[in-house]
């Protein structure tokens, strides 16, 4: 039966290259996540803004 591989965080003299690569990757992925979610949330709020919003069935290019 195979067992769970144990991570080894020892990278020796290459730490100055390995960890920044992982840290920058994490930062970039987090930026993508945050930017995508915040952007979508903002536009959703604006699209659904207020009860005074006029019906747009005839002008909305995306409404079907």
């Amino acid at each position: 039966m195979s067992h769970l591989p144990i991570p080894n965080l020892e990278v020796g003299r290459y730490a100055a290259f390995v960890w920044p690569a992982y840290a920058l990757s994490a930062l970039a992925l987090l930026w993508m996540l945050a930017d995508s979610l915040l952007r979508a949330r903002r536009w959703r709020r604006e699209a659904e803004a207020g009860p005074q919003a006029a019906p747009v069935a005839s002008t909305d290019p995306t409404a079907q």
Partner: protein, 242 residues
């Protein structure tokens, strides 16, 4: 209509499907990332590259994604340009910042891998330069989209740029075959199977799927944002005209 692209022509269907598909892909990406990082950190050091081999698990998926995202951007641009699918431009526009981020990540992590292995952060060889050109095309695409007030014209101009830029993808892929390069040759998609040991191949495959799932989730979220942006614009227009 090209089969399989119906969802780009029907925003209502897209919104219904993406509402559950985006979180499913996001959850899948989180699980795959956790497994990929765990198994990636458990690999033995390479006999030549030592512990720097672990940079491969974040560098290669980013590099793959930089090209895959661009291909999807170009397909969406083509569908928008030729078939005028309602969501095609939103799909292309939404892919660009994600593709640019993956490309920047591939260049930066590649540089961090190159310094200890090649003795230099950067070299103007075909693979690195063509990847840098890809980043510039992404940035040019986004700048062009933002520069024109008329969204239809902006989408058209950006789509043409995206299709022209498609010529760079085979250059990136075959650059290590066509020219002498400091960058290592093709080792995954080669005749006779990957040259990479299975010990490294598994974490690499899992990380690639994690990046792919994450991109899928974020792409859907961004397209949904574009749909809402257009709806908000249409509402504002209707209010102004009332």
């Amino acid at each position: 209509m090209i089969p399989g692209t119906k969802f780009l022509a029907n925003p209502a269907r897209f919104m219904a499907v993406s509402r559950w598909l985006a979180p499913v892909l996001g959850a899948l990406a989180a699980v795959l990332l956790a497994v990929g990082l765990w198994t990636g950190m458990a690999v033995p050091d390479d006999y030549q590259q030592g512990a720097t081999v672990r940079i491969m698990f974040v560098h290669l998926p980013a590099a793959f994604m930089s090209m895959i995202v661009y291909a999807l951007l170009a397909i969406a641009s083509f569908l928008g340009l030729v078939f005028r699918h309602a969501l095609a431009d939103a799909a292309a526009k939404s892919a660009a910042p994600l593709g640019a981020a993956f490309t920047a990540l591939a260049l930066i992590t590649g540089s961090l891998w190159g310094r200890p292995m090649w003795g230099t952060w950067w070299v103007w060889d075909a693979r690195l330069t063509s990847e840098l050109v890809l980043l510039l095309i992404y940035l040019g695409y986004m700048a062009l989209h933002a520069a024109l007030d008329d969204e239809t014209k902006a989408a058209r101009a950006a789509a043409i740029l995206a299709l022209v830029g498609l010529a760079n993808l085979p250059v990136i892929h075959f650059s290590v075959t066509w020219w002498n390069s400091l960058h290592q040759g093709e080792s995954i998609f080669v005749k006779g199977g990957p040259k990479l040991s299975a010990v490294y191949l598994w974490p690499l495959g899992i990380m690639f799927l994690a990046y792919l799932a994450l991109f899928g989730a974020l792409w859907l979220v961004r397209i949904r944002g574009e749909v809402w942006r257009k709806r908000a614009g249409a509402r504002a227009m209707a209010r102004a005209m009332a």
